[in-house]
Amino acid sequence: MKPLLCTVFINPNAALDLNLQQWDMLIRQARAANVLARLGFLLQDAGLWGKIPVKPLLHLESALVYFGRFYSSLQREIGYVHDALSVANVPLVLLKGSAYIMAVNAAAKGRTFSDVDILVPEDKLLEVEWALINAGWITSTLDPYDQKYYRQWMHEIPPLRHLDRQTSIDVHHNILPKTTEFCPDAALLLANCVKIDGQDSWVLATEDRVLHSATHLFHEGEFGQGFRDLSDLDLLLREFSGEGDFWEKLLQRAEALKQQVPLFYALRYTRKILQTPVPERILDAAGRQAGKKINTPLMDALFLRALMPDHASCNDRWTGLARWLLYVRSHWLRMPVHLMVSHLLRKSLRRVLGKEPH
């Protein structure tokens, strides 16, 4: 059975027919999926605010108050990051949640997160890191192996944490680890960045924003926020689909950036789970583009479970297994086997020796 949360995300008016017990379930699923504030916005936008029973309304209002606070703190934080980067003469390119919020995308609604993600050219990493250190951020890990792991193989440096504000920033030079087969050319991403109106900061081009969201979700190993991320994609796609040749450009761009497979999954599962209006011909073309290697029935069995809200009421007996298999898959995709084996061995050995938190 489709979770109530999916039903209401597809058609907010369905909330009008809910009894109090169903509202109870809707709020639980939304909170577990970290979309309580987003649900509030959807119901507000649909003009239903006055028709929500008082008990669930209090939870939605409370989540919106919290989001309001998050939103203003984030604006301030991004200002600080901007000022630090301008010292290094590097433009501020925001990724993911920060990008949706600053570019005022529909996916900004109710979107909370803990790190500001930015993209900088790889050859500027050192300067950017120093600029941030001078502005009060320090590295979150002093462990030489972790440092090496990030710097040698990953698409980002170890997260930096601000000494006073305890805020966290992830500095990326690409959107996928260098060790993956599908790692795109970051210069292409930077070349197409767009400036946000009236601000001195930048975001990825619309197609690239979708592709980054897709590649993040479908290479990911943890699905606690899977539904929220899928909803991001749904909102981005609905918003951008109004631009004339968006779908065609999206397909072309996926090819150029080697993101055909995640794009196919993104289109397939937003359509299946949230009824995103993806044109049939685009979905077919994305499937052809992704190649014949995809075992669609298997991936359906895994993703249609893992992408549900992370609440007991949305699980079946196979959900746990599906999430575990996708976790293993994420490591598989992240690096070649010999690297992965030595990395995991090393991690478990250090854990046994008590050198690493569990």
Binding site: N19, L20, Q21, W23, D24, I27, R28, R31, A32, P53, K55, P56, L58, H59, E61, S62, V65, Y66, G68, R69, S72, D310, H311, A312
Partner: protein, 301 residues
């Protein structure tokens, strides 16, 4: 229907199966647990609370269980879950019922931004709510326990819920958490006081929970008008002394003692400003409970 109308056996069984659904002030809470101490805690301290119907909306689904089969037998532990989310690390098994109280505090403080939530006890007499903010060790819970044992109404011993909508204080009457020597102080002060299991060696020392007066619980979710804002400080051997506090200072002190002042921003500031406008604000030093109660009872006439 009240919890005390259920047999002990039914309480145990309901906790183990679908969960026990309680009305606590304006909140509805569902608790599941197969831990015997938790059932005993509810049976002895929550008797006067109303049960909530199956068809009703539940604000907080909570459960207390052992984190793993192993941890049921080897150095047993308990963990608190808010509908599948675990906000805390596990605690030793015999702190299960205290963990329920702390866990529920967390649920309310983190999910109820329709209120400004101050870390303060609040009690009422003759329609006037007295608010006692305080850091741990200031003696606010002891003072609060002594007042409610002297026929004041308990709204909360731990969190004052100040509505952003109407400026009134909303109740969450719960068992009063007393620590260390306060437990015996209240036992001597009011021999009829009913306590749950007293647990040693928690992070807060020895902790015991005092059953809230049935009459306070019976007020349900009726709010009260704030009248006095009093910052208490227990000091051994001190004279009872009440000193006026400027409103600006009182506002800042209360902001420091709030759980969600930072979340509410301007609304938080405005609601605190309205609160200090309608309250007399004091600092209060005491060591003698009888004198304290006589003083406050006089002020509430």
């Amino acid at each position: 229907m009240k919890l005390e109308t259920l047999s002990k056996e039914t309480v145990v069984q309901t906790l183990k199966s679908q969960g026990l659904r309680l009305k606590i002030g304006g909140f509805t809470v569902c608790l599941s647990s197969s831990i015997p101490d938790v059932a005993a805690h509810l049976a002895s301290l929550y008797g006067a609370f109303e049960l909530v119907d199956e068809a009703d909306f539940i604000d907080f689904y909570t459960s207390l269980e052992s984190p793993s089969l192993l941890r049921r037998y080897f150095r047993p532990q308990v963990t608190f879950s808010f509908d599948g989310y675990f906000p805390f690390k596990p605690l030793p098994y015999d702190q299960a019922s205290a963990m329920f109280e702390w866990g529920l505090n967390w649920c309310i403080a983190s999910q109820s931004h329709q209120y400004l939530i101050a870390h303060a006890a609040v009690v009422e007499l003759n329609g006037q709510a007295f608010i006692f903010p305080g850091v741990p060790g200031s003696g606010k819970s002891t003072l609060c326990a002594a007042l409610v044992c002297s026929s004041w109404r308990l709204l909360s011993d731990e969190m004052t819920l100040l509505s952003l909508a109407d400026g009134l204080v909303y109740p969450v009457p719960r068992p009063i958490s007393l620590k260390n020597r306060s437990i015996d102080v209240i036992r001597n002060f009011y021999p009829e006081a009913v306590f749950g299991k007293v647990v040693n060696d928690t992070s807060k020392g020895t902790v015991g929970h005092l059953r809230p007066p049935d009459k306070s619980v019976g007020f349900g979710s009726d709010p009260a008008q704030p009248a006095k804002l009093i910052f208490p400080k227990y000091e051994q051997g001190s004279e009872t002394s009440l000193t006026q506090l400027t409103k600006g200072r009182a506002l800042l002190k209360l902001a420091e003692n709030s759980f969600n002042y930072n979340v509410l921003g301007l609304h938080g500031f405005n609601s605190l400003a309205d609160l200090v406008d309608c309250c007399d604000c004091y600092e209060f030093k005491y060591s003698n409970l009888d004198e304290a109660i006589a003083l406050f009872t006089g002020m509430a006439q």
